[in-house]
Amino acid sequence: MVGPAPADLVARREAASDSVVEVRGLVRDFDVSASWLHRTLSGEPRRVVKAVGGVSFDIRRGETLALVGESGSGKSTIAKMVVGLLPPTAGSIRIDGTDIWDPANAPKLRDLRRRFQMIFQDPFASLNPRWRVRDIIAEPLDVFGITRGRATRDRVGELLTTVKLTPEDGEKYPHQFSGGQRQRICIARALASEPEFLVCDEPTSALDVSVQAQILNLMRDLQDRLGLTYLFISHNLAVVRHMADRIGVLYLGGLAEVAPAKAMFRDPRHPYTRSLIDAIPDIDMTGRERTPITGEIPNPLDPPPGCTFHPRCPFARERCRREVPRAFAEASGALVACHGVEEGWVGQAPAGQKAV
């Protein structure tokens, strides 16, 4: 829905601060067309899904930026591109000023890789079932040549203690642990190379709530202790609010709104953000009034023209159907991509939005 946020705008706003990650105009297309033979025979055109359509953001040192979105929002695709697992179609990703996808920087990449790591969604798939836990955690130590032999063993024990497991646990295999413990092992592995930036792709969505609390607390403790910077990907707004300093809301591959976490929950600007916050179940039983969003996420193969949210938006007008909104900065510090907010016909406090 958002055209590329004007890079100069983002740059101006972020220039003063110390950014670990700078993402500019990130685009990723997936070719989902049938095979060449099939296409030629049936005369079908190539089909391309725009999973991410021009996303720009910065992550400052020591902060947690959360990207929140539903399925098809492109949040995991962004995570993969940021850590270098998936090449972008266009745009750039700089970590500590180095463009990680620029072939000219390939020699620098080996050292740079030490500085960022990733925590994955599924703790049952992210640990090699045939490896002992100590070998799993030692792998980055070996590969980066950080420690050898006895020192590696001590370091692995130390890392296991950091995530509140015991050094003896290193002798076991992943299947001997519960989901929460496995996620701790993943965190220990991620910390092995002493990174400063961690991408966390739905790190707790496969876990039970009580275990989720343990992992979220651990992640925050580690951030305080080690001064980590997080890119936190989630579909769960409550978790995001708990973890993030700033939140970016993704819809169909574009950023709808980026704002400080507290401000966003106090005063969501974009209509999609409003409806997402409205959709959170009222677990405190406050009796807060809610208007659930209508409709469903459109097929990304055939996205609506103009603002991609307009078919579901209660405020949509003619302009939204025609023109892709660009991100603009609000006085409050939020970046919003919405014609209605920009022109002021999306009210300050629309129906259904109460103090939360």
Partner: protein, 338 residues
Amino acid sequence: MTDAVLSVRNLVVEFPTRRGILRALDGISFDVGPGEILGVVGESGAGKSITGSAIIGLLDPPGRIAGGEIRLKGERIDNLPTERLNRIRGKRIGMVFQDPLTSLNPLFTVGQQLAETIQHHLRLGERESRQRAIDLLAEVGIPAPEARIDNYPHQFSGGMRQRVVIALALCAEPDFVIADEPTTALDVSVQAQVIQVFRRLCRERGTSAILITHDMGVIAEAADRVAVLYAGRIAEVGAVRDVLKRPLHPYTQGLMGSIPSLTGEGERLVQIPGAMPRLNAIPEGCAFNPRCPRVMDICRRERPPLIDADGACVTCWLYDERTEQPPAREAPAVGRPA
């Protein structure tokens, strides 16, 4: 409660394995009143889905009901032969599963599937059945039901499909519906819509239901009462408002505290140490005792009974009159920070 639509008493479900018998459910008891939605909530392995499967007689082998009884409007259904149970399923008990595609046949239009069920169970003619099916689709909020009724399941989106399944579960006018994680596979924004539809339909038709979920949010949205399961046992049963706002059992208190709040100041989450025991290593006495912040001697020795406390039922020795200091409800040691 004699007027309960569904009544479960001391239900025990066992899975014999070659390393011994695992007790997946151990003495579960609850009632569901007329028109009531009972939420059954628990973490993975607590036995919530097995409760649902046991009630409809669809336990995966080698699981078996090893004790207790299940009554539907006073009639025992836990020991029925398969054939009679098959007649009860669908007609008297409707079912909604997590994956809507398990309930829908991909080879028939949703109209055919709905009309056939209606015809079969309600003994209506073809035209009336079809009309009834269209009405139902409209009721579950499917736009243009006259046109959509001739579509195949794959032509619906995930949320719409789950609405169709809800229509299918309710079309035979069952006494009772079991919904097992009906919204888990859906997106957040769609989840709220589907839960609302489910709740509205049960309300309008006075259908009782069990709503099985791991998500306290879904419970808060849709249920009237809630049963909290832990390690195959009931920790607490009570009105949703009470259990969510003022949980009695230390496990429920911890559970509620561990959910990130939308109102708090980003404080640390309450965390329950450790993890739920595996079925082959359930501790003696109260199953929660090794993780409980308020554990007493008796908890390690004896299993607490279901104790009436303040309108709710809780299996915790803290609320037994014999224990020395009955705790104040307002000041739990662990709990949701206000």
